[in-house]
């Protein structure tokens, strides 16, 4: 029997700080006068900054906590910092938006913090039940966030769909956990791997395949891979744009981390499950890339277009996970950082441009934006070019590293399909750029100038995109030397 000591609490310090600040925001909410709720946003940002400092500090206390259910290693540390960056950017980008649409309540900020706590527990846990609890903390918070505009039809619809399909997926994931527990007698991923590798005859391969497939289906819903992507376009389109910025990055990054830990870290090593895992990943990577990119070609709504684009990006990341090993994992981790920067930046800028109640989200509404507001058009162009993977932006190296890891793993067919897909994707990203720069006529979208906090968030993401696009080797070297024991 192990007892809980102070070291356990130190190793989850970022999550603790975020939880305390989320509760603090909720307690301050009733005493904050109407119209001053932005203060609560700054309280939440202070929490994110403190948690970020804590996550840098706990990098010096590696090890596991709470009876090996939480692991504080380089992998979890990097992802928690990434999640905090996403949360910080979304908070900065959402304050003016909430005021403009008159939905500025403190709960919004608290829910963003709570969703981040859940995602942080997901990436740090080495115990399937703990993964499940983190998943639910983050999911339940984001169900509410998606429907944050209660009275608005589309936001509410987005929330209903996200809730129903999210819970459906969770049930599958949980059923997979139940079978893993039944086969191995434990839910700790390290022990599961050791049990299955050392005594493969103890578990019947059919039940093991069932467990792997059930868990994969559950996670596939969360990262929206084909055929489990049906909810994504509607949810991303209907949710308030800053929420979409969060939804499309933070829970996705956390679910990818779980995919890596469960499949690359554990079941890839098991002889009887390895091929099943490989083909599951291979097939869903191909389907996800192709369907995401092809469907995006026909979209006229910018949020919906970016939703299909995020499906396609999930496909590229699956290529890295299929490649597996240390190289595939670090490529995926790099991709997650780049993807988060460009997607959050694009969505919070669109949230501003769409005007009050998001009236203008069609591609033709952006026609002629470059003539009216050249600065914003330039920023949006950079985000689009980076999403398309142009050199000197992070999108290029993200794709490059993922494809390189696939080549090194001798997945030539998969790499060729991925390359063709990224060529197709250029078309729909550039369609928006062409509309902004070459379209005739006056732009429909917001005329108001960019609020300072939003401008800062966009500047940070632009800086990140160019910095990682020009000097990617530093981060990649760090990611290669994470020293994760299970790789």
């Amino acid at each position: 029997m192990t007892s809980v000591g102070s070291a356990d609490f130190i190793r989850i310090l970022p999550e603790l700080i975020l939880s305390v600040f989320a509760l603090l925001v909720m307690m301050l909410e009733p005493v904050t006068p109407l119209g001053k709720k932005t203060v609560l946003g700054w309280v939440a940002i202070a929490g994110v900054i403190l948690a970020g400092l804590a996550s840098f500090a706990i990098a010096y206390f590696p090890g596991s906590a709470f009876s090996a259910s939480i692991s504080n290693d380089g992998f979890s540390n990097y992802l928690i910092e990434l999640l905090l960056l996403i949360a910080g950017l979304v908070l900065l980008g959402s304050m003016a938006y909430l005021e403009r649409d008159a939905i500025d309540h403190g709960e919004f900020y608290a829910l963003i913090l709570m969703a981040t706590v859940g995602a942080a527990f997901m990436v740090a846990s080495t115990e399937l039940i703990m993964v499940f609890i983190g998943l639910e903390i983050s999911s339940i918070s984001t169900y509410i966030l998606a429907g944050y505009k209660r009275g608005e039809m589309q936001s509410n619809e987005s929330s209903v769909k996200y809730f129903l399909l999210g819970s459906f997926a969770t049930a599958f994931f949980l059923y997979g956990i139940a079978f893993v527990y039944g086969l191995t007698g434990t839910t700790n991923l390290d022990v599961v791997r050791e049990t299955l590798v050392n005594s493969p005859q103890s578990a019947s391969p059919q039940l093991l395949w069932l467990a792997v497939i059930l868990m994969f289906v559950g996670l596939a819903f969360k990262v929206s891979t084909v055929p489990f992507q049906i909810w994504t376009p509607d949810v991303y389109q209907g949710a308030p744009a800053p929420v979409t910025a969060f939804l499309s990055t933070a829970p996705k990054a956390a679910a990818f981390a779980v995919l890596v830990r469960v499949f690359v870290g554990s079941f890839d090593h098991v002889a009887s499950a390895g091929p099943v895992v490989f083909w599951l990943l291979w097939i869903s990577a191909v389907l996800t890339m192709c369907l995401g990119n092809l469907a995006a070609l026909w979209q006229s709504n910018v949020k919906r277009l970016l939703a299909y684009s995020s499906i396609a990006h999930a496909g590229y990341m699956l290529v890295g996970i299929t490649a597996g090993g240390a190289e595939g994992t670090s490529a995926v981790l790099f991709y997650l950082a780049g993807y988060a920067l460009m997607n959050v930046g694009a969505f919070i800028l669109i949230a501003h441009l769409a005007g009050s109640d998001e009236r203008y989200t069609n591609v033709q509404d952006f026609t002629g934006l470059a003539a009216d507001r050249p600065g914003m058009a330039a920023c949006l162009t950079v985000f689009m070019l980076s999403l398309a993977g142009f050199p000197s932006t992070v999108g290029f190296f993200a794709k490059f590293y993922v494809f390189r890891s696939a080549m090194h793993a001798h997945l030539t067919g998969l790499t060729i399909i991925a390359l063709l897909n990224s060529v197709v994707s250029v078309y729909y990203y550039l369609a928006l750029v062409v509309a902004m720069y070459m379209g005739e006529g006056k732009t429909q979208v917001s005329e108001s100038s960019v609020p300072r906090a939003l401008g800062f968030a966009i500047a940070v993401s632009l800086l990140g995109i160019f910095f990682l696009g020009l000097f990617p080797s530093g981060l990649l070297r760090d990611l290669n030397s994470l020293h994760v024991p299970w790789l």
Partner: protein, 100 residues
């Protein structure tokens, strides 16, 4: 003592019924109940495995699942109430303001 396979079979049947109901049913509340059915099938599987395995882990997990399901129900029903206020209907087919 009832053999493990019988309980597991019941659990699989319940889970499949829940999943099928989720897809076939056309009322939001019923669909939500189907999800609860699936979660309870999972609980049954945990309990069945816990009887065979040493330790109380499996039984403990059931409590985690129950707590999480309760939290999910609280939020889910609130979302469904908001849906009813917006549309005066709980039919899933009416929830289609965005094209697929």
């Amino acid at each position: 003592m009832i053999p493990l396979s019988h309980i597991l079979l019941l659990s699989v049947i319940l889970f499949t019924l829940g999943a099928a109901g989720f897809i076939i049913r056309r009322n939001v509340i019923t669909v939500f109940m189907c999800i609860e059915l699936m979660l309870n099938a999972v609980n049954l599987a945990f309990i069945a495995f816990a009887r065979r395995l040493p330790g109380l882990d499996g039984q403990l997990f059931v409590f985690f699942v129950i707590v999480v399901a309760a939290a999910e129900a609280a939020v889910g029903l609130a979302i469904i109430v908001a849906l009813y206020r917006n549309r005066n209907s709980l039919a899933i087919d009416d929830v289609d303001s965005m094209k697929l």
